[in-house]
């Protein structure tokens, strides 16, 4: 195989493709992440509709595929075939470019997200700064979309959105700074802004930053967790698209593919901010207790987790197959679900085989592969918990009024985050 492909695989030092200067592997990683995020958005679409329905004692989508599993695909086809309307009075060019701004900002962020110590496109020295900066560009798409529609509701939605983002970005930034401050509490006293460096700092200090200086880390995390819901315009802070007041807010005039780009950008941004929270406070790719339970047997037990997760999913799917109504109308759906269960079981088997093969240290390729799967698994699992929380919030809490939103942002969250920052700095100096 050509040298530009193999040289990165053969290198012994653990580097991301971007840091190792391997353009080929960086491109491969970009493609994998793009496909993975798109797939995650599709899954999230299905899960949100299903989970919301079950919260409200409904069934949710049931017709397209078994338990509505093919509903996102049907939706995507519908959106692509729909007529793409640009209002006559709209600003044509800006109307056209607005969804792309949001989408670009949401996806660019993924270059620095560390799915593992080497499983990132690049390890930038200013990683977290880059992430916050680029994700804050996403609001430009929303604002410009609302303005270009040249209609009342979108404009109000855009104004609300920009005011909300600017307000919550302040509290969010201060919470992030208090986590970055914690990375500098080591012997050299030098912190880091690199996403991978932040996780390594947590590993080195032997504690996730959410538990560091309890409850300081936890408060900073809570502020970030609230601000990130506001940043992504999700319920209960979804005033920019409050359907009871503004029909659909900033994307009222959008239809078809363009509208779906907004949805894609919103969900991609949700995953991205969850990834920031996981990296900064929840130990990124690390499994629970990496320093305490570091014996080979624990290593082996934890490496079985990905396989057993998929085995569990396969079991649930099998139960679903068995519980299908016995009517002949459901025959095809039952077969489809059974095939899906077998597919999940096959993935589970593959992961378990890799985990067992990686146990003996002499097969280094399998061990490297197993480590990679473990890192990505724990990272994705933590992010998935956040994604479920997003749905849970939406089902549970009523929407805030705009003045309440502003009051919380400026009069509650900002002082608390400033206080946490100052106290963290003082405690850090005292402990040292």
């Amino acid at each position: 195989m050509p040298n530009f492909i193999m040289s990165y695989l053969r290198s012994t030092e653990a580097l991301t493709p971007g840091s190792a200067g391997s353009q080929f592997w960086a491109l491969i990683y970009v493609l994998i992440i793009f496909a993975g995020v798109s797939l995650a958005v599709i899954c999230m679409n299905w899960l949100e509709r299903k989970a919301l329905a079950h919260f409200q004692v409904r069934l949710g989508p049931m017709r397209v595929g078994p338990h509505g599993l093919l509903q996102p695909i049907a939706d995507a086809v519908k959106l692509m075939l729909k007529e793409d309307i640009i209002p006559t009075e709209a600003d044509q060019f800006v109307f056209w470019v607005a969804p792309l701004i949001g989408l670009l900002a949401a996806f660019t962020v993924y270059t620095v997200i560390p799915f593992g110590p080497t499983q990132a496109v690049s390890d930038m020295n200013i990683g977290i700064l880059f992430m916050l900066g680029v994700s804050s560009l996403g609001v430009l798409g929303i604002v410009v979309a609302g303005w270009a529609s040249n209609s009342h509701y979108p404009l109000i939605g855009a104004l609300r959105s920009s005011a909300q983002m600017v307000s919550y970005e302040v509290a969010m930034g201060l919470a992030v700074i208090s986590a970055i401050l914690m990375t500098s509490l080591n012997t050299s006293g030098t912190g880091t802004l690199s996403m991978i460096g932040i996780v390594q700092a947590q590993q080195q200090q032997g504690v996730w930053f959410i538990f560091k200086f309890f409850p300081l880390g936890f408060i900073a995390f809570a502020i970030f967790a609230i601000a990130m819901v506001a940043e992504t315009n999700r319920a209960p802070f979804d005033l920019a698209e409050a359907e009871s007041e503004l029909t659909a807010g900033f994307h009222t005039e959008y239809s078809g593919l363009r509208w779906s780009l907004f949805m894609l950008a919103e969900y991609a941004a949700m995953i991205a901010v969850s990834a920031i929270a996981v990296t900064l406070w929840l130990g990124g790719w690390m499994r629970p207790f990496p320093n305490l339970l570091h014996a080979p047997v624990w290593e082996f037990i934890f490496s079985l987790c990905p396989g057993f997760t998929f085995a569990g999913l396969a079991a649930i799917t099998l139960i679903g197959t068995a519980r299908m109504p016995a009517h002949s109308f459901f025959k095809i759906q039952r077969i489809g679900l059974a095939v899906f269960a077998v597919l999940l079981g096959f993935i589970a088997l593959l992961l378990l085989v890799i985990a067992v093969a990686g146990r003996s240290a002499d097969i280094s390729v399998a061990a490297r592969f197993r480590d990679g799967i473990d890192h990505v698994y724990w990272f994705v699992l933590k992010v998935a918990v956040f994604m479920y929380m997003f749905i849970w919030y939406r089902a549970t809490w009523p929407r805030y009024r705009f003045d309440q939103l502003m009051k919380i942002g400026w009069k509650v969250m900002l002082p608390i985050s400033l206080g946490v920052l100052v106290v963290t700095a003082i405690v850090g100096v005292i402990v040292k």
């Binding site: 200067g21 800006v94 609001v139 430009l140 920009s162």
Partner: protein, 194 residues
């Protein structure tokens, strides 16, 4: 030494080996510079204020790219967060509240444009003279600094290292005081009763 530093050092080593050697530098520089200049011209020639603001965002982003090429990633990141992300959102916020239909019928340039042109020419002359005399004015520092320690160097210059006061600590604190006064002034001017 913490792990973050370690990986940073690793990448610095790779850079020295040619692994991270910059690719197509002139091409990127001229593209970014052309983008900045063209969108800068668009900012003042567009009749619609929102179009101007969008062009300004492109200018700011391409300048951030130029900072990256100067091995100053921290400055580039701050440029994106503060200007492209923060200030431009506020710009757009204000522009949307203005009646654009009336504004677009106004004359775009007022009568003092020759003064502006003269000022621009003087600035241009200054830049040209700096470029011509550049070698004498700025001593050649040799290799560009590694981008991996840029943030740390800025911190050392501003806050000092190893117990010593930084080179610019005093100026930095004065600037922050100035900003604080500006914030207080804004609050006092908007609040009728304090």
């Amino acid at each position: 030494m913490n792990p973050g530093m370690h990986s940073a050092l690793n990448s610095a080593v790779t850079a020295a080996n040619g692994g991270m050697a910059p690719v197509a530098t002139p091409w990127f520089f001229y593209s970014l510079a052309a983008l900045a200049v063209i969108s800068g011209v668009l900012v003042i020639t567009r009749r619609n204020a929102v179009h101007s603001a969008l062009a300004l965002i492109v200018t700011l982003l391409s300048v951030a790219g130029l900072y990256l090429m100067l091995y100053a990633p921290f400055v580039a990141g701050v440029q994106i967060i503060v200007y492209a992300g923060g200030i431009m959102v506020l710009f757009l916020f204000v522009i949307m509240l203005v009646n654009l239909d009336r504004a677009s019928k106004d004359r775009q340039f007022n009568r003092i444009w020759p003064v502006g042109l003269a000022a621009a020419c003087v600035l241009m002359a200054l830049f040209v003279s700096v470029i011509v005399k550049g070698k004498a004015l700025f001593t050649d520092r040799g290799m560009p600094l590694s981008e991996s320690s840029n943030t740390q160097q800025i911190a050392n210059a501003l806050y000092g290292e190893a117990g010593r006061m930084g080179q610019y600590t005093f100026a930095f604190e004065i600037a922050s005081l100035l900003l604080l006064v500006a914030i207080l002034g804004a609050v006092i001017m908007t609040k009728k009763k304090i």
